[in-house]
């Protein structure tokens, strides 16, 4: 390894003293025998600075190997035997271009090196092997750079997938928070009202009790009794005026309904994330769809009526939280495709004789033209305004379904709507080593 890294053609230049075209063959042969020329494959023939050709050791050898070769040809000028179309490389040439050109034009076995010229003038000789070495070095450098670029690309892809996950998680959390907020609003208000009611009714109760005590007390005067009667009448009248008695029961019904709603959301949130379950599980996809619909309700309910037409499904072996993510992604896309208020239809069925389950999610939204439809699973492809979508949602969905050895297709007509058709096998048959769904699960649970 040279201390100084060679990177340019000029670094390869060997200052070889050229020979004139009139030099005799025998003298050239003697030159090749000299120590100074020991490493040279050939000698340049130059006149007035212009390279005319090269004469190789090999060519001299061919002359001398003939019978009486030295005797017949030894005195003749070298120009008659030289290669008049030698490899020539400009000193300022790009190393890669030069080596490509040399490799393309060199003759095997390599018997000649190349001439280095500067604006047509002879500057020196360059060895083909050094050029190839230099090139190899370049390739190695580039390979390392490529490996680095590849690594950083992979990292940023993982980062993007992560940020897509975080974005959809954030959206989901915001939606669920809003869903919980409404029942929380009236539950809180009802409880505060109930507290007021209790304090009102309890003062009426106290007044009534005082009245009863007074009535039962033989020593009570008429004034005392009428005083207590007045107070009790006022207090109980205030209570019945407030309508508390009729309202208190529906008030508690509403409160319980609200709490029911909140618990339903919490249960669905837990089912959706499946944090408390094995990563790969046997699940009923109808239930998965229901939990995705609950989680996405905030986004969907103002945009569409949802019609579920569920078939009787066998359980499907899958990474349920991933499949839930796919369903939620497709459902929210469907809601976003609807401009005012439309319909989303969710159908499930078992495909006869295939041991596969099919899920169809159809909307009657804006649909999409073929050129969009063809690209929707491409990473980073999005029709949403900048900042609103990463363009990774469907690409990740596609990956998830593919890892489950399922299929995901889309049919769309502009103006009429879009239908996603997902098929998933009921069993992940392959061994863990070959199946990314199982493999990842094994890895994460090890």
């Amino acid at each position: 390894m040279a201390a100084v890294r060679k990177t340019r053609i000029s670094d390869l230049t060997m200052r070889v003293h050229p020979i004139p075209p009139g030099m005799r063959v025998a003298d050239v042969a003697d030159l090749f025998l000299a120590d100074a020329c020991r490493d040279l494959l050939c000698l340049p023939v130059v006149q007035d600075g212009q390279p005319l050709g090269v004469i190789s050791r090999y060519a001299i050898m061919r002359i001398f190997l003939r019978q009486y070769g030295r005797e017949i040809f030894g005195q003749r000028p070298i120009e008659r035997f030289m290669n008049t179309a030698p490899l020539m490389v400009d000193i300022d040439a790009d190393v890669e271009a030069a080596s490509a050109w040399v490799r393309q034009h060199m003759v095997l076995p390599v018997t000649e090196d190349f001439i280095i010229v500067e604006q047509g003038h002879y500057r020196g000789m360059g060895m083909v092997t050094s050029l190839l070495e230099l090139m190899e070095h370049h390739v190695a450098l580039r390979g390392r750079a490529l490996a680095r670029a590849n690594a950083s690309l992979k990292a940023s892809q993982a980062h993007l997938v992560q940020s897509e996950k975080m974005a959809s998680l954030g959206q989901m959390v915001a939606g669920v928070a809003h869903e919980i907020n409404t029942p929380l609003g009236y539950v809180r208000s009802n409880v505060e009202l109930a507290r007021d009611f209790v304090s009102q009714t309890s003062s009426a109760l106290v007044a009534s009790r005082n009245l009863i005590h007074c009535l039962l007390d033989e020593r009570a005067s008429d004034e005392e009794i009428s005083g207590h009667l007045m107070t009790a009448a006022e207090e109980t009248e205030a209570v019945s005026q407030s309508g508390i008695l009729e309202e208190v029961s529906p008030l508690f019904d509403d409160t319980l309904h609200g709490l029911e709603q909140i618990s339903e959301l919490v249960v669905n949130l837990r089912n959706f994330s499946r944090l408390d379950r094995a990563r790969v599980d046997h699940v009923n996809l109808n239930e998965s769809l229901d939990s995705a619909l609950t989680i996405g309700r905030n986004l969907i309910k103002h945009k569409a009526e949802v019609i579920c037409d569920y078939g009787d499904l066998p359980s499907v072996e899958c990474a349920a939280s991933q499949i839930n993510q796919v369903f939620l992604n497709i459902l929210t896309n469907a809601a976003q495709a609807i401009a005012d208020y439309g319909r989303i239809t969710v159908r499930t069925r078992t495909l006869a004789d295939t041991d596969q389950v099919e899920v169809r999610i159809r909307d009657n939204g804006c649909g999409m033209p073929e050129e969009v439809r063809a690209r929707i699973f491409d990473p980073f492809f999005t029709t949403k305004p900048v900042g609103q979508g990463t363009g990774l949602g469907l690409s990740i969905s596609y990956q998830i379904i593919e890892q489950h050895r399922g299929s995901i297709d889309v049919v769309s007509t502009p103006g009429e709507g879009t239908e996603f058709v997902l098929c998933l096998p009921c069993r992940q048959t392959a061994s863990a080593a070959q199946n990314p769904v199982l493999a990842e699960a094994a890895g994460s649970e090890a």
């Binding site: 208000s189 009202l193 008030l251 208020y341």
Partner: protein, 304 residues
């Protein structure tokens, strides 16, 4: 007028309406609507003092309901009661709904009662004021103060309003200094100034000087912040940067009209009353500066 004041609640969740009706029907006459359309029909039929609407409803949003309410029943105070704090809806509620308060769900009954009681008081004070003679409007053209680091806004406004005294300043101190000399009708300001965020200063200014109409121009997009600007500074308009010229000039036009209205009917000023701000010790320097300005204003001989 001894009848109970009338409230109108609008929410697509009936249980919310039920609890609100129950909470308020003793002191008020309470109307309720589960949709914007229904609310508008009620507004046309009944005199309403305060409209309290949810933002997120299927057909009509709360901002749309309140905008309609502004047209049909301009004297009614408007409150948005919602759990859905999306930037666009907040900006809409300021600019289109000209709302009095933004109350977030889940609400505290006590606070909601206070807010509604305050709104009702204001409506009644304003109604009484309409029967009193109009204060003679001084002919002096109202001034505009532009508080912004770049001169573009100032140049645009000066060209559009040559009849008004248009002044500009780079910093809050400079603006306060000049405002003490020429109290403006309208303050056009960015929220981010060299000395930092001036929301606190705006709150104090508006609390002390309710006839000052504030137009905020900002690239800032924090919903909680905007909600505080409504509730505690009663900003009149919020324009996102980059500002559209048309929108700015239109807003300015209506801000100037609004100021004239406020001066003609001082009782209306209460419509702009702001939430009491808990004293924030960390901003004491801003408070001091604003107080200094207000003292200087008071020190001036008031026009005879």
């Amino acid at each position: 007028m001894n009848a109970k004041p009338t409230l109108l609640f609008v929410d697509d969740e009936e249980r919310i309406l039920r609890t609100l009706v129950l909470a308020f029907r003793v002191r008020y006459r309470v109307l309720s609507a589960t949709s914007g359309e229904e609310a508008i029909a009620l507004l046309r039929e009944h005199p309403v003092d305060v409209v309290i609407s949810d933002q997120r409803m299927p057909q009509m949003t709360g901002v749309e309901v309140l905008r309609a309410a502004r047209e049909i029943a301009p004297h009614a105070m408007r409150i948005l009661l919602t759990g859905y704090a999306e930037l666009a809806s907040i900006v809409g509620s300021i600019n289109e709904g000209e709302i009095f308060r933004y109350v977030q769900k889940p609400w505290r009954l006590e606070e909601l009662r206070d807010t509604i009681a305050e709104a009702v008081d204001i409506v009644h004070a304003a109604r009484d004021a309409q029967t009193t003679p109009v204060v003679a409007n001084q002919a002096r053209a109202a001034g505009i103060m532009v508080l912004d680091r770049t001169p573009a806004l100032f140049d645009l406004i000066r060209q559009a309003h040559p009849e008004h005294h248009v002044d500009t300043a780079d910093t809050l101190d400079e603006a306060l200094e000049r405002m003490a000399r020429h109290p403006p009708a309208v303050l056009v300001t960015d929220l981010q100034l060299p000395e930092g965020d001036i929301s606190d200063a705006l709150r104090l200014l508006k609390a002390q000087q309710p006839e000052l109409v504030v137009v905020v121009v900002t690239a800032f997009r924090d919903t909680g912040h905007l909600i505080r600007l409504i509730n505690q500074a009663q900003v009149y308009r919020v324009l996102p940067r980059p500002v559209s010229q048309n929108m700015l000039l239109r807003s300015l036009e209506s801000a100037l009209k609004h100021h004239d209205l406020l001066r003609e009917r001082p009782a209306l000023l209460r419509r702009h009353s702001v939430e009491a701000v808990p004293e924030a010790p960390q901003h004491s320097d801003i408070q001091q500066r604003v107080r200094g300005y207000l003292d200087r204003l008071r020190g001036r001989t008031s026009p005879a």
